[in-house]
Amino acid sequence: MLESQAVLLSGAGTGAITSPALVAVSYVLGALLLVGALATVLLRTLNAAMTGLVGTLVVAGILYMVLGGGLPLVLVQVVVVGAGMGALAFLSLRWIGSSEAAASPFNDQLIPAVLVAVAVTALLGAVTVAASWPGATASRVEASLWATLTNTYPVGLATLVVIVLSVAAGGALLLTGRIPERSRSAETASARPKRRRTRPDTTA
């Protein structure tokens, strides 16, 4: 049995959700979350996978709301992450404009990928089951999240703004910049099977 470090708590109990309606909603949202995630990775066309991803992110936002994660977090998750990411992925496909790019096949490493994913999930599940997490009753997080961001983490918030602005500027520059087309000779060279390099004879 793993024991996490003892923490002095001002709350009492673990504050589990006991309302039948909220419990039912939590189970339904959890099932939808996993179905959406599976759809994202299993569907073979990118448009369908994108729909699955956006659905998953929106459901995650609703789940944050059930958990009382705070309105700013829910809005960011649903509007910025969910809708924004879906629009961006859709735009990427439009920019690429190739039917080949709209497909999303599996690669040759399917079995190792399944094994690694199962191992990672099993490890996380074992830690979840074995650990004894210190718990507390939740306070009203919703009212304090924005205040926390501006008062406790102003540097983090400023850094986040800088990151977002840098990404916007960098993305715009990358898209508008001139991209040199790969020369035909380079393409054919990469298509050719690679020859083994031989070390030059230095004994002579």
């Binding site: 959700i17 995650a60 961001l149 406790t152 790969r182």
Partner: protein, 105 residues
């Protein structure tokens, strides 16, 4: 019947594992980016669950939720930049499949 921290952590582990599988098994770079976003969402779900049920819940400072917000926005920014890079590589190499990427030449 009740729902506690372990339920959300299990959900988070499942989401992380599914994203991990997609990241390793898909050929399309956009699909790999989407799988990475699934993994990030799984981690964020754990953070928010710890905010609700964990020791930080009693402090009224919501550090987990704040961290999840930072992670969400920076993850979205990473996805945006990744998508742009995929588009730029496609313009140059005419492929979005990671198996075909050869960035040396």
């Amino acid at each position: 019947m009740s729902v506690d921290l372990s339920y959300f952590l299990t959900l988070s582990a499942g989401l992380f594992g599914i994203g991990c599988f997609g990241m390793l098994a898909k050929r399309s770079a956009l699909a790999v980016l989407m799988s990475a976003e699934l993994m990030l969402t799984g981690a964020n779900l754990a953070l928010v669950a710890f905010t609700r049920f964990g020791a930080g819940a009693a402090t009224r400072h919501a550090p987990g939720a704040a961290l999840a917000l930072f992670a969400s926005v920076s993850g979205a920014a990473e996805f945006a930049l990744g998508a742009v890079i995929v588009v730029v590589i496609y313009r140059s190499r005419r492929t979005v499949w990671v198996d075909d990427y050869d960035l040396k030449g």
